[in-house]
Symmetry: D2
Subunit: 320 residues, 4 copies
Amino acid sequence: MGSIAIMCSGGDSSGMNPAIKKFVEYALDKNLTPYFIFDGLEGLIDGDIRKADYKDVTGIIHLGGTMIRTSRSKRFYEFSNREIAYRNLQKNSIDKLIVLGGDGSFKAMDIFSKEFNISFIGIPSTIDNNINGTDYCLGVDTALNVIRTALDEIRDTALSFKRAFVVETMGADCGYLALISALTSGAEICIIPEIRYDLEALQKKISEEMKEGRTNILAVVAEGTNDTDKIKEWIERDLKLEVRELILGHIQRGGSPSVYDRLMAFEFISYAIDRLMQDSVNEIIVYRDAKFEFLEVNEVVKDRHRINDKLLDLVVRLSK
Amino acid sequence: MGSIAIMCSGGDSSGMNPAIKKFVEYALDKNLTPYFIFDGLEGLIDGDIRKADYKDVTGIIHLGGTMIRTSRSKRFYEFSNREIAYRNLQKNSIDKLIVLGGDGSFKAMDIFSKEFNISFIGIPSTIDNNINGTDYCLGVDTALNVIRTALDEIRDTALSFKRAFVVETMGADCGYLALISALTSGAEICIIPEIRYDLEALQKKISEEMKEGRTNILAVVAEGTNDTDKIKEWIERDLKLEVRELILGHIQRGGSPSVYDRLMAFEFISYAIDRLMQDSVNEIIVYRDAKFEFLEVNEVVKDRHRINDKLLDLVVRLSK
Amino acid sequence: MGSIAIMCSGGDSSGMNPAIKKFVEYALDKNLTPYFIFDGLEGLIDGDIRKADYKDVTGIIHLGGTMIRTSRSKRFYEFSNREIAYRNLQKNSIDKLIVLGGDGSFKAMDIFSKEFNISFIGIPSTIDNNINGTDYCLGVDTALNVIRTALDEIRDTALSFKRAFVVETMGADCGYLALISALTSGAEICIIPEIRYDLEALQKKISEEMKEGRTNILAVVAEGTNDTDKIKEWIERDLKLEVRELILGHIQRGGSPSVYDRLMAFEFISYAIDRLMQDSVNEIIVYRDAKFEFLEVNEVVKDRHRINDKLLDLVVRLSK
Amino acid sequence: MGSIAIMCSGGDSSGMNPAIKKFVEYALDKNLTPYFIFDGLEGLIDGDIRKADYKDVTGIIHLGGTMIRTSRSKRFYEFSNREIAYRNLQKNSIDKLIVLGGDGSFKAMDIFSKEFNISFIGIPSTIDNNINGTDYCLGVDTALNVIRTALDEIRDTALSFKRAFVVETMGADCGYLALISALTSGAEICIIPEIRYDLEALQKKISEEMKEGRTNILAVVAEGTNDTDKIKEWIERDLKLEVRELILGHIQRGGSPSVYDRLMAFEFISYAIDRLMQDSVNEIIVYRDAKFEFLEVNEVVKDRHRINDKLLDLVVRLSK
């Protein structure tokens, strides 16, 4: 019935391993021969491609990261390398591809799939939740819960002092992680690229709360604002509180996949394989309004993701 | 602008505390006076009602359980006690109520609210996810992640032996927790009330896998089947594997609320308060197809919840 | 420089995997050839023995259970099977053995090692902490922290109700796990085999506390007392509190090894290998008063472990 | 029988809350009146002192940080402020003090206690484990397990890439946290102030491992070396691996106290109170060779803590 391959591209996110497991099981169920492409586009060029079996995916469902590794590839921009990549697929009779990644990877795959007539489905997989056209990207729920655990623990510590904590979350140009984290951990300040903040207004509000007894402040800042240091200095100078700064960093990509991410991994994969069996496509599977749909690559990559207004409204009072 | 009270009724679930926090904050935002009713319907009868303030809900967002406690009440079946309960509300000028609970509590509240013209909204809150008309009940995501952690750890242990684990999950008459847990932890067997299992077929399939090297089995059994012991004995007798049985029990109700449950708590509460401010109602707020809606109590309690067919299909192969 | 093998025997405990990793690395450091014996004494009889390398122990340091599996073996009681086992060791030129296990395994190995002149060191490894002569058995700290997490979460839930929780911990005939868990989770009642409890006295004390406002009770019961149900019924009948019972079971054996268990694993292994390189021995390595020592097998197995009096004193007031 | 007070001073550490709980319970047991001094030496000057009761310490045993808060105080260096502090103690008839803190706090208390004849015991409490004369400081085990969890998750992520992670741990001038974390998480590189590292030698060793297939490196660097960036640049330049840097920061102070820290908290407190009841002292309680002892303040603060040689030996191969 043909061969199908899976690879990861770009940053990793928790949920990739359950997707890989489901990929192998579902492909075998449908009489497809499943293949792994290791190290993303780099491995595709280098021919690091191997047939996969049930045993390869035993005991990985609960692991963060991706067992087939991922990469960012500059070489893939050159046609000659894409030609080599195509021949590597041909050797294994692979004409269907599933790619777990983000915008950049989808654009590259779109070109490649049109050049060589490879059918491909992209599965939005990034903790940044910044892909246009989908409400959800694989790995976001796990990342949010990792951040939550960190913030809950910081709050315990913060309560031990008269002190502020400024915590920087990931998210590239998107404030989603910071926004949800601030809301669900009861932060007093949230600074994200999508909302113009007003330090004067914030200062007035918080100073009053401090007069009434507030001794602690938790500020969540999205890395995309590049304002973590600025917020820290403002709190020290204008609110006169000792500040500790914490860049959460790569911890946010780790963590055993949450139940939600495992389920989403299964759904993304099974819908994607079903689609690839029906038609020759190059599309992205998206999840919106609780439904799975397929979009042209261009529809997805043409724009950046916008956080919905209701969510932004909820957090505005933490920014001004 | 009037007074509004919140109480919990029936079993507790993780997510109640974030809901209570949001209740106080959102009510004050809307110029309503928020009240706590402690110990559920029991406290309503006993008049254990107190005005709430920001300070009461500081530092509770990350706690499992419910700070205002909950109860199951037989006394509330008697009209005389409901009359006392009504007078307790009157004393505090409370004519709007939010109740976090399940079917039983909703039925009781429906009667009460009609008898005394109290406006009430029920928020489905139970880890069993067994309430008709809603895709989601508050606390389910946290419970699932607690179960996941337990199953992941059991799997580590199981791999140390040639051995089977039979794990019983909660869920009352509903197999939802068991189903999702079996899927997302890679269990080999899943026994739920919604699917008639076939031990002969299972035995044949698993025996073959054991011939090819399988040394471990993880079976997830819903408490609603009452078949945990039967499955244990079957594995010992027919699959000839040593079995360990684990009743997960009340651990499933604990755990710091997940990000998803905190968000759902906020949404349920803000929609419920908005609704109570518009109209005199007795309704249940439900979440379906990614939208929040309001249903008549009767529409909710008239029927038991059905797990959707797509999910059931996914797990059928673990039952027969 | 000769060959050395490691195996696990009896119940598994968290900490075995770090020990196995350190075993391979330390043996190779010392120019010994490391071997794994899979499935404990069963695998020793069946000849399931394999040379080990660095790569085998990559990525296992944080896993609970044991990657070389363990077993309980009746066959090993027969001389003919021990003879077969000996020949399996001879084939691989193995004359040094490290066994992670408990009393039963040590006795069996003692006989075997004397019969066939095999040098062996036993490392006390059981979550029960019930081995005579050592203050610590590998896996106890992880088990205690798993129990702690469960009890902390149960407490959150318990506070939601007027309710008692009766939690049964493992520990075979030894109350150590229950004792430490009760102390460090602030339990109100602790029932262990080492202390004769007095329900009448407990009832008097707790009833008074309930009059002053106590609404919750957490009782930790050691499985070795066989009194879990009795305590449950007593609370319901005499303290008139609703009770939830929780048998923690095999969750206690799981969990990623704690830092303490990883360190103890390293120490046990390096001392054991050093000793085996010096001399032909059959001994148990023990940890007491913060020092590692070696005892004759008989000195260890002749008696049951006694919890020290200071610890028992601390918990007496939770038993009577 | 007199009054006794407890306060925290300097950085917080997990284990302070269980110590505070035990302090109240044990003091009441011994017929002493327990007092809290809030906000450390700052609160002592400001007279923020309150009588404590059982109820104050309900539900705190599992919380990180310290419910009575802590501070660093410059004002206490002035005699006039110490005089005010003394009068605050007099007002409450407090002549016995327990201080959870580190070297700096102990020195300040030593002066104060001699000036005003206040009996005081210091309990070493810092995650840095850098106090001379004691093997253990309260909070270290919890901090190590928080770091472990982070490193285990980072390793999962790292395996997804050809990549190095450079992780900076706390510890002030002491490499203890980094050393133990590197050992117990299987790091390839460990850089601490106590060992002169040799990048040339490391490069040679690791380059060879990379030729044989190593794709990942985990380097743990103690903040006290100030070399985190240097190590990062060296890996990028000389090992030609992409590097991610992670400053663990204040997450390390949070986390629910581990079982070990809860037990140590109980022991430190009960020994300290016993001692204060016998005699008028100003001493530090230390734990060494598995025993609790009391040292003159000067003996403790005169020197910096030295990590024992056996531990240093274990980690040397990760530094050169």
